[in-house]
């Protein structure tokens, strides 16, 4: 077990631990000192931030059966006027697969501190990280090992948290995966549950939906629900966000999705693992992003994303019709009710 202390601390990583005692049982020598907001302002307050500033603390937890998962500890957001809102209650208090869905707007920045709470005596688990796709970040927020980035190990370890800074700059709107890159090897344990979604909503505030056969732009505020569906090698892993409240509900494997009739809902598909998939939502059609094509199925390879919105007019089922996926029962219902 390493006992290196503050000399290696990434700037801005020191942070109040919150109220989970289990996280700190093994880390008495570490320096999770309580630091006032002033330190935070020292590093970030003077930067010109176009949008909102998010401060997030996440944990990586070990689950039963050889799986791991991310857990939200704390999320607050400060707007341009300096008003801060605590969003922590939107999230599950338990670790979930997929992990917490982080929702930003184009222009926002996020500072995410990751804490490592596995068995510190297992050298294969010494590292855990957050590697994010799509948004901007400097080399020290790549979430990789020094072996890859030739700079440093960008991991939370049993004795030290690690803070990543993501910039949802203009041009990064979209849905992006985040995942571990460092546990066990330089490939990480993304296939063991350490993944989640980042949604960067466009500054335009609009999403395209096909309504009565015609594609139209609707305001994001009209989207009642977002479904994050990770497509693993043997199951869909779901998470639902109620946009009226921002509340996130973990749906776990092959979930039944529910929607209010005629409401607008948005699907965020991300594949992960070794297999390739053929997603279908029967009797619905939607726009293939960037294309004129209207589609009802989509081939997806690992870490590809596919986002679309539909008006929930009728119940249907979704499935992965790839050979072994279909045999394994990778499917679920989409229930639309009044």
């Amino acid at each position: 077990m390493r006992r290196k202390l503050s000399s290696e601390f990434p700037a801005g990583s020191v942070h109040s631990p919150g109220n989970d005692p289990t996280a700190y049982r093994r880390t008495t020598l570490s320096v999770w000192s309580i630091v006032p907001i002033a330190v935070f302002l020292l590093f970030f307050g003077s930067a010109a931030v176009a949008g909102n500033l998010h401060r997030i603390v996440m944990h990586a937890d070990e689950l039963e059966g050889g799986l791991y998962a991310y857990r939200m500890e704390y999320h607050e957001v400060t707007d341009k006027n300096g008003n801060t809102t605590n969003l922590t209650s939107r999230y599950s208090t338990a670790a979930t697969i997929p992990g917490p869905t982080i929702v930003l707007e184009e222009g926002d920045e996020a500072e995410i501190e990751l804490m490592h709470v596995f068995d510190p005596d297992n050298p294969k688990q010494e590292h855990v990280s957050l590697h994010v796709h799509g948004v901007h970040y400097d080399i020290d927020s790549d979430g990789t090992l020094k072996y890859i980035n030739l700079y440093k190990d960008e991991s939370a370890t049993p004795v030290m948290s690690y803070t990543y800074r993501w910039v949802a700059a203009s041009g990064t709107a979209g849905t992006w995966p985040y995942h571990d890159h460092n546990m066990n090897s330089h490939n990480g344990a993304e296939d063991k549950g350490l993944f989640g979604a980042l949604i960067v909503n466009p500054a335009s505030g609009e999403e395209r939906v096909k309504i009565s056969g015609t594609e139209q732009n609707i305001s994001l505020s009209n989207i009642e629900k977002d479904y994050v569906l990770y497509i693993g090698d043997d199951a869909f892993w779901g998470m639902e966000i109620d946009n009226a409240t921002g509340q996130q509900t973990p749906l776990w494997v092959n979930p039944t999705l529910t929607a209010q009739r005629n409401s607008y809902v948005r699907f965020h598909l991300i594949a992960l693992g070794t297999n390739f998939h053929q997603f279908e939502l029967k009797s619905y059609k939607w726009a293939d992003p960037g294309s004129r094509k209207n589609i009802n199925h989509k081939v997806l390879g690992p870490l590809e994303k596919h986002v679309f919105a539909v008006q929930a007019t009728h119940s249907a089922s979704y499935q992965d019709s790839a050979f072994s996926s279909a045999l394994l029962g990778m499917k679920g219902d989409f229930i639309v009710a009044d």
Binding site: A169, T172, G301
Partner: protein, 923 residues
């Protein structure tokens, strides 16, 4: 200057200016004619590649490398150009030649025939559409015969890029600072850099790409063979689809699928925009490809750094390897194959074999790379180190950080690549097919003799084993026997059994020793094989045996079923099924009335249904990757097939020929179990799988498919490799062999509680080699006799071990052949049972009587005969045996099926020859 378009900004003025400049230039230069002469040649490591001989055109021509390269020369043309390609096949100049063609999916017109060695063929391309297209040979493309054709727009317009401030900016080829062609093949990137002046520089494997911050770089990512997803850290780009919707927001991505069998994706980035300088990884995002080495770096350097931003080439097929001195890092390539013996075959194995005696051994200096390509197989595999020099695992000793031991969580299609620095012996295997072997000696040229290293570590957890130890040399001998059919035992010949080894000195922990002398003195050579003999008492019915390596004339894949008449001990039939190219038939089982034999194809995706009476094909159906074993449920006759390359057991309901569903062998998200040789309880309530990838025996409720228990086997050793299950006829106990832990686990038949672990090598000293009692090295099949008295274990180290189920102790060891593998019971005439035992590397089946006098005392268990699996001219067949006659003995099933639970359901015809106690084995 910025005008908003679709919520984005576009630098329109700049673009307009560029457009007009380009338009003015291109309107002068009309369609050009290109006359391109390529040759196809063999590289020093045995791979093949294309080389530019000449390119003449009335337009601009690139500056090509003078050498053969992988990928081949990048052909830049413009839409509408006339492109004539002449291909000269010179593959025969440094070894055996192959036919080579030149195909461009979507662009080829006219002739697509391949050129034979020495021949020249002409091809023509239709350049009617812009884009990047792979060109390739059809048959041997994965060995290096591929390259890119780039058809650019007449005005030079290339893919737009996303700037750091989010604006989408169109770009012209004249603005590009450099371009990269990156082929994703197997689990390796093969790269070429094209500089602004058109110079093409080969970057070979997994190169470190480099660019100065804010340079414009176009990527041409291509793939042939299995699918990939390309990801580059910290950069994003436009997914310019064919049917682009101008009113939709641009589709910005950072991962892109490259779909099998051939695909391409081109995009432009501004290096480091929005993220700055840094070393950013690019990789395939398919997890198994990541784990098998499919990654590289893009180094973005700041302008202020003064660094030139030059890319660094990776290991190459023309670099330094044994027999090919060079100052560049070298690369050896193993083809992963369904071909018996040469499952890992060096691409220059035919040239090495006179020295190495096998095609599966390579020799390289430290710092070289080893490359694997699954180019000759229909199955899924892993590339897994079986053993390696101890120091290679230790990062502080200069070993490869997290790369050794080399392994993947999930079996897959692709390949692998790994750089080796520590001298010594590395043996690679496939976890799914654990007798596939490829070995690499990393030899320090400064030492006298080949370096095997001082100590090795084994995948099963043994650390620091001296290379002079008996276990180390025994494994080395196993490697030379398994990988070389000439070293297999031929029972039809009266010649002594000769094992050929390379005539070299090797350096081990005790110094330099002559390899042949050491192996011969420890294990003998030129041994007289025992004669074949029929058992005195006939058996009942037929014995169906998978002679998995036997080759026949009218199919490319190996394997037959040999049907033995147990009444007469003569061969009845050979079934090869050339019409479906039956591939490595591994295990089989009859349906209830014995009208249908279910046959798995272990290096393929198929289960084959065969007519028992005629040997004719009924149906060949896809069941999943690498199906291993099949058994029926005794109470309802549903067939259960272990999908060894995946994560479940598929069910085919009785009377149907379609897969119904897959019973998962693990919970969602967990590592795939990769079940191999399962068994079904006599009461039909339990399906038990040996889960090779997760080191446990899985006990499943056959009715609900629920997991009852997953019991770890192998006493906590890291890779015990549980491989086969046997079960008591009253369903009370489960026996599971652990291949690499050399043990037999005994579990409760209902809840899976571990009752006992029997160490099968307790009497073996791995250092001295002293054997003081019965041993079973590398145990595989482990059936329990239908009366429940004996367990017979076929141990691939060459032993048959008998365990008494009353005491769960070893009572006897009998000799077996190399690669001893399959065992199953059939009825002996007038009562009792025979155990039929097969071996991969011999061509006979051994008949064991575990209780010759029927007194229940197993101490007189003995071999009562052995029968050749080689058919003479009179034996019925559906194809002519062409080589490896009778070899590859693996799965066996005896008809009638006399196991408790099944025997009671036999039809009158099949039950007639059995005694009353055989029909009711545990009453």
């Amino acid at each position: 200057m910025h005008s908003p378009i679709h919520g984005r900004k576009m630098k329109t003025i700049t673009n307009l200016a560029l457009f007009f400049t380009a338009w003015l230039l291109t309107s002068i230069a009309l369609a050009a004619t290109h006359n391109i002469i390529l040759s196809a040649e063999r590289l020093p490591n045995g791979q093949f590649g294309y080389k530019m001989v000449s390119h003449t055109s009335d337009g601009a021509v690139a500056n090509y490398p003078v050498e053969i390269t992988i990928p081949g020369p990048t052909l830049f043309v413009k839409r509408g150009d006339v492109v004539n390609v002449q291909l000269i096949n010179e593959t025969h100049k440094n070894g055996p030649g192959i036919k080579v063609g030149f195909n461009v999916p979507g662009l080829s017109i006219g002739n697509t025939d391949a050129a034979a060695p020495g021949e020249t063929k002409n091809y023509r391309l239709n350049t009617h559409k812009t884009g990047t297209f792979p060109y390739h040979d059809k048959d041997n493309q994965l060995l290096g015969l591929f390259g890119a054709v780039v058809v650019d727009d007449l005005n030079g317009k290339v893919q737009s890029y996303v700037d750091g401030d989010g604006t989408v900016i169109s770009a012209n080829r004249a603005q590009l600072d450099k371009e990269f062609v990156m082929f994703m093949v197997g689990s390796t990137f093969w790269g070429t850099e094209i500089s602004a002046d058109g110079t093409q520089k080969p970057l070979w494997t997994n190169p470190t790409l480099s660019a100065i911050e804010n340079q414009l770089v176009r990527f041409h990512v291509l793939a042939i063979g299995p699918s990939h997803t390309f990801h580059l850290h910290a950069h994003r780009w436009l997914d310019e689809t064919e049917d682009k919707n101008p009113s939709a927001p641009p589709h910005i991505i950072d991962v892109k699928i490259l779909n099998s069998p051939a695909d391409s994706h081109a995009f432009t980035i501004k290096a480091g925009t929005g993220v700055g300088a840094g070393v950013w990884q690019y990789h395939c995002h398919v997890m198994s490809h990541m784990e098998s080495g499919m990654n590289g770096k893009l180094q973005v350097v700041s302008a202020e750094s003064g660094l030139p931003g030059d890319s660094i080439a990776g290991a190459s097929p023309s670099g330094a390897i044994f027999g090919n001195p060079s100052d560049k890092p070298g690369l050896v390539t193993f083809i992963m194959s369904d071909e018996p013996g040469s499952w890992f075959r060096s691409t220059r194995g035919d040239l090495l074999k006179p020295v190495t005696k096998t095609q599966s051994l390579e020799i390289v200096p430290p710092g070289s790379s080893v490359h694997f390509i699954m180019s000759d197989t229909e199955g899924v595999h892993t590339v897994t180190t079986l053993l390696w020099p101890s120091e290679a695992e230790d990062n502080s000793m200069g070993g490869d950080h997290f790369m050794i031991p080399f392994d993947q969580t999930k079996a897959y299609r692709g390949g692998g690549i790994v750089e080796l620095h520590i001298p010594g012996l590395y043996v690679f295997t496939c976890k799914i097919h654990p007798y596939m072997f490829g070995a690499v000696i990393v030899d320090n040229p400064g030492t006298d003799g080949l370096d095997l290293g001082n100590t090795i570590n084994l995948v099963s957890g043994i650390k620091n084993l001296p290379t002079s130890s008996d276990l180390a040399t025994r494994l080395l001998r196993t490697f030379f026997v398994a990988t070389t059919p000439e070293n297999w035992q031929d029972f039809t010949s009266s010649d002594p059994w000769k094992v050929a080894y390379p005539n070299v000195d090797v350096v081990v922990d005790i110094g330099k020793v002559p390899l042949i002398a050491v192996l011969d003195s420890r294990y003998g050579n030129d041994m007289i094989l025992p004669p074949l003999s029929n058992p005195a008492i006939p058996g009942v019915g037929e014995v169906w045996i998978n002679t998995q390596f036997e080759k026949t004339a009218n199919k490319t894949k190996p394997g037959t079923i040999t049907v033995l008449d147990a009444n007469t001990w003569t061969l009845k039939r050979k079934i090869a099924l050339p019409q479906i190219n039956m591939n490595n038939p591994h295990n089989l089982w009859p349906n209830r009335d014995h009208s249908v034999i279910y046959q798995t194809q272990w290096f393929d995706t198929k289960l084959t249904l065969i007519d028992q009476k005629t040997g004719a094909l009924i149906k060949n159906l896809r069941v999943g990757d690498t199906p291993s074993h099949v058994m029926t449920l005794p109470h309802n006759d549903d067939a259960t097939v272990a999908i060894n390359g995946e994560n479940g057991v598929v069910i085919i309901p009785a009377g149907t020929t379609e897969v119904n569903y897959m019973m998962p062998t693990q919970h969602h998200g967990q590592a795939p179990a990769n079940p191999h040789g399962h068994w079904v309880s006599a009461d039909g309530k339990r399906i038990i799988t040996p889960n090779i990838n997760t080191s446990d025996a899985g006990i499943y409720d056959a009715e609900t498919g629920q997991i009852v228990a997953r019991t770890q086997t192998g006493e906590g050793a890291p890779g015990p490799h549980p491989i086969a299950i046997g079960m008591m006829p009253d369903s009370s106990k489960i026996y599971a062999t652990n291949l690499l832990h050399h043990s037999l686990s005994v579990l409760d038949g209902n809840d899976g509680t571990l009752l006992k672990t029997i160490n099968l090598i307790e009497n073996y000293n791995p250092i001295s080699g002293e054997i003081t009692g019965p041993v079973g090295v590398l145990p595989i099949q482990t059936p329990v006799s239908p009366d429940g008295k004996a367990v017979v274990i076929a141990a691939t180290g060459g032993q048959i071990v008998i365990v008494d189920t009353a005491t769960d102790t070893i009572v006897k060891m009998l000799p077996c052949d190399p690669g001893c593998h399959g065992a199953n019971f059939g009825a002996k005439k007038d009562g009792g049972y025979y155990a039929y035992v097969t071996s991969k590397f011999s061509n006979r089946v051994i008949v064991v009587d575990v209780d010759p006098n029927g007194d229940g005392d197993l101490s007189d268990a003995d071999i009562v005969g052995s029968i050749s699996m080689v058919a003479d001219a009179g034996v019925a067949n559906d194809d002519t045996v062409s080589s490896l006659a009778g070899y590859g003995g693996q799965g066996i099933v005896a008809l009638p099926n006399v196991y408790n639970g099944w025997v009671q359901n036999l039809s009158g015809e099949w039950g007639a020859g059995l005694t009353d106690s055989q029909r009711n084995p545990i009453r």
